[in-house]
Amino acid sequence: MKTLASTPGLFVRLGAPLSVIVAAIVALFLVACALLASWIAPYDPTDLASFDLINAELPPAFTTDGDPSFLLGTDNQGRDLLSAMLYGARVSIAIGGGAVLLAATLGVTLGLLAGYFGGRVDALIMRIGDVILSFPTILLALLVSGIARAIFPGAATAEWAPIILICAIAIHEWVQYARTVRAATMVETAKDYVRAAKVIGLPPRRIMLRHILPNVMSPVLVISTINLAAAVLTEATLSFLGVGMPPTYPSLGTLIRIGNEFVFSGIWWIALFPALALVILVLSVNIVGDWLRDRFNPKLRVKR
């Protein structure tokens, strides 16, 4: 927690513009709120006893018909929207973070192998990556979750949803890590210290993990920020399409999906507040990520 709190100070020392510092504070605030959801949320949306259908579809407290005990109004089942959003953000961030972690682990490992060994290993890994990259994220993710749905029977799908989502997102994102790490590894492998390590007969595993890995990690950390934003968006999109998190354990995307059914009857808040939270979260992470990329590794600017 101490490192989290001192991060804005770090940004100041690195000469970040005001907008980036503000974005970093907003992002950290939202992440902290989401992580602390079970302590700061006014109600517990996972507890069936805490909400009542009588309170369903109440507008936000600041409108004329609002109930002061529900700051942002309630959803179709009488759940407090703010609490549902806090818990939902936690789910979104956990899945996004999990996907980035899995993609980074897979991508860094394969990138190291491809860059260090070259030749056939390299060609195989990179061709697979090329094929994957030639399909858009959303299509692959839909496909993975579609297949997973078919394999797991109905009830198990809800239980496995987070894992399925993490895999569905990571299957596309690992390629970018692999490409970056492969290029950096090739540069490092040609350097004297790695050649020296080879000459004294260190096993490849040790050279890769102890000698090369620390020197290729910085671009990985930089692309992770932007990938986190992208992963949160993909998760939200999948949940919105109805193949992500189930309504019993909603993420921000699921909340927007539920709200979308009520938009036509003029009940705008159920969809709009979670959407706003999602956009602010992703936007602030993107601003920080963009700046980090330009600051530390201008070469990484990819066309998006």
Binding site: V131, S134, F135, P136, I138, L139, L142, L143, S145, G146, I147, R149, A150, I151, A229, L233, A236, T237, F240, L241, G242, V243, I256, G259, N260, V263, F264, G266, W268, A271, L272, A275, L278, V279, V282, L283, N286, I287, D290, K303, R304
Partner: protein
């Protein structure tokens, strides 16, 4: 040249084989076709008979061969949900999606190019900064949120535009078009804008980057030194060259747009292929899923391969590199 052609085509065929293998595996192992197709109280013998008649008792490679030859003949099976041939379903939905994608592409080019040029010509002006900031917001806003907001404003609050469906369509042979009726055009507007916004940021950023690149090149500096009018330099000399990669990327993006239309089609209940696919995913309608995968895969591979080959024809340096 010939080598490039062969290697690109080889790669394309390889990718399509992989995609078709994934489709096949989905067909064969996800869910049991015998259980789906036989009567509830079918005896073991009946099931075995059905298994034999479907060819499921043959070796895997043979089955895959049958699958390939059926697919090449355009027979993609029958949808579990609609009980109709999948090829027919896709052909029926294709026009809706393509019309949406065409409108979105036109809109995003018509807006993205001028905005990109504006940002490149005055990179520190207020307008350029505003556009840059908006584009970051654009990247961070998921398509479905844009769609919902547009529906809230223009359909629910103002009541100007319809919020779902295609409106009235006119059949031209097998192609049903919404371009010819007022209600069809009105229905196209909101989903078109939603899908275009996803593409707009990309085109704008690309035009800006290319323009800045071209503007700092020698021939532009020479044109300036000659005292040619700024308008002529910017729009006749610079923009033309900056647009080349934009056209390529727009072409490459058509495949992505078709896939991404899934989201837009869901928000606006647009009866296109995307909606067909997402319904298939939630109903575990494997033949439709597999067929959609094959179709979109083919489209991607075709577009990528054609672009690669065209590049090799146009740019001799690429030929040398890959040879």
């Amino acid at each position: 040249m010939f080598n490039v052609l062969i290697s690109r085509l080889g790669q394309a065929v390889l990718v399509m084989l992989v995609v078709s293998a994934v489709s096949f595996v989905m067909f064969r192992y996800v869910g049991d076709p015998v259980a789906t197709m036989s009567r509830e109280n079918a005896s073991v013998e009946e099931k075995a008979e059905l298994r034999r008649s479907l060819g499921l008792d043959q070796p895997l490679v043979v089955q895959y061969g049958h699958f390939l030859s059926r697919t090449l003949r355009g027979d993609l099976g029958i949808s579990y949900r609609n009980q109709r041939p999948v090829t027919e379903l896709i052909a029926e939905r294709l026009p809706a999606t393509l019309e949406l994608v065409i409108i979105a592409t036109i809109l995003s080019l018509a807006l993205g190019i001028p905005l990109g040029v504006l940002c490149a010509l005055k990179p520190h002006g207020i307008a350029a900064r505003l556009v840059q900031a908006l584009s970051l917001i654009g990247i961070s806003t998921p398509t479905f949120v844009t769609g919902i907001v547009l529906i809230l404003v223009f359909a629910v609050s103002l009541g100007w535009l319809p919020s779902f469906g295609r409106g009235q369509v006119v059949d031209l042979g097998w192609w049903s078009t919404g371009f010819l009726t007022i209600s069809g055009l009105k229905s196209l507007l909101l989903p078109g804008i939603t899908l275009a916004l996803y593409q707009l940021t990309l085109i704008m950023r690309l035009v800006r980057a290319e323009m800045i690149d071209v503007l700092s090149s020698d021939y532009i500096r020479f044109a300036k030194a000659r005292g040619l009018p700024a308008r002529y330099i910017h729009f006749r000399l610079a923009l033309r060259n900056a647009l080349m990669p934009v056209i390529t990327v727009t072409g490459l993006q058509i495949g992505s747009l078709i896939a991404f239309a899934i989201v837009t089609e869901t928000v606006f209940q647009w009866p296109g292929m995307g909606l067909l696919f997402i319904q298939a995913v939630s109903f575990v309608d494997i033949p439709v899923m597999a067929a959609y995968l094959l179709f979109v895969g083919l489209l991607f591979v075709l577009i990528n391969t054609v672009v690669d080959i065209l590049y090799a024809v146009v740019d001799p340096r690429l030929r040398a590199r890959s040879a």
